[in-house]
Symmetry: C2
Subunit: 210 residues, 2 copies
């Protein structure tokens, strides 16, 4: 699972031997989620349909329609499931490495052909659909909280000022990547990621987030 | 004209007595642009139609259809026209005031009921339509260039290090606002704007953009 807007297929909750509450219902939900991600990767949100997901997941179309209603419901539920998953927060021992790892992970995620297509599809869906937007906002609020220890540990180590707003440092580090990807349409590479991390760190050191 | 994604109606190129090349053709284009902005403000990109714009602009539907083709063509041309307009770059005499004015202007623009609705409509359109995206990217590239003197003057005054990438400071200052508005769905107010400007400035002072 990366910082991006969905879970990687291999990192999903379907590890062998892992017992999930709900049994068959949970397996159906997971199958529908995986099919939703695949359909998003291949066709984007405009091509995401109850029919396509049902067929790919091997689930009755009526079942998908009854529980997820439409493309927005499918995208929102895939995000809700991804929010519940554990996510490996960077822990290199110093804040510069952690923040660079965080932003580099976001850049790599969006530059990955499959993962990037899925997450671009979800952001595009959220811009025009309120239910997907609610799910994306909840997902990202969770990611901000999960990444906050990167900054909190730095404060404990004395690398950053007491009272630094950890989530605001995280937002500031990743915002330039999203701005380029979804607003200004400029390229995002590892250099962009490193510069964004270093800029957020310099601002945090100067006390801009206290 | 603000840093946001379109021209205010009152600040358009149609000032009395201003002669524009093209005469009747230019007037038609301007009327269609204003009608496009009004339709976007009221109905969003999903409600933007050749019929609605033609009717509001008092221009034959066939003319609008022939010259602008569809909603994407209308939105893209409105942006292209906005790109040509002069824009008052902040000049308070010191870089902190200039950057704060810049980000506060962006926040106020998106919080304005009409202007905000238009620009949200354009960004939403750009996320799903390649022609609108191309126009938005061109518009913002122009705005980055136009705002760069805020940083370049600061370098000349010795407020920022020699060799600071002016456009990157501008992107970094405004990115957190766009991230909140279009990605994480968090509120943007004057405090957000001031903090984003101050963070970009602190990073620039520390040499993060050299």
């Amino acid at each position: 699972m990366t910082y991006g807007a969905h879970a990687r297929q291999g990192a999903s909750g379907a590890e062998p031997g892992r017992s999930r509450p709900g049994g068959r219902t949970a397996r159906t939900r997971e199958a529908v989620r995986q099919a939703t991600l695949e359909e998003l990767a291949q066709h984007g949100f405009d091509g995401l349909t109850v029919e396509g997901v049902a067929s790919r997941a091997g689930v009755h179309r009526a079942t998908v329609h009854r529980r997820w209603r439409n493309a927005a419901g499918l995208a929102a539920d895939a995000l809700d499931l991804a929010s519940d998953e554990p996510w490996p927060v960077p822990d290199t021992g110093e804040v510069r490495g952690d923040l660079r790892e965080l932003t580099t992970m976001v850049a790599a995620h969006f530059n990955d052909p499959r993962d990037g297509a899925v997450s671009r599809g979800i952001v595009a869906a959220a811009v025009r659909d309120a239910e997907t937007a609610r799910a994306l906002h909840g997902f990202l609020a969770g990611r901000h909280r999960q990444a906050a220890p990167v900054v909190e540990r730095a404060v404990e180590r004395g690398e950053l000022p007491e009272g630094t707003d950890a989530e605001e440092v995280v937002r500031t580090a990743i915002a330039p990547l999203y701005y380029r990807l979804f607003i200004s349409g400029e390229p995002v590479d590892e250099g962009t990621a490193v510069r964004a991390a270093d800029a957020a760190l310099a601002a945090a050191r100067a006390g801009a987030f206290v």
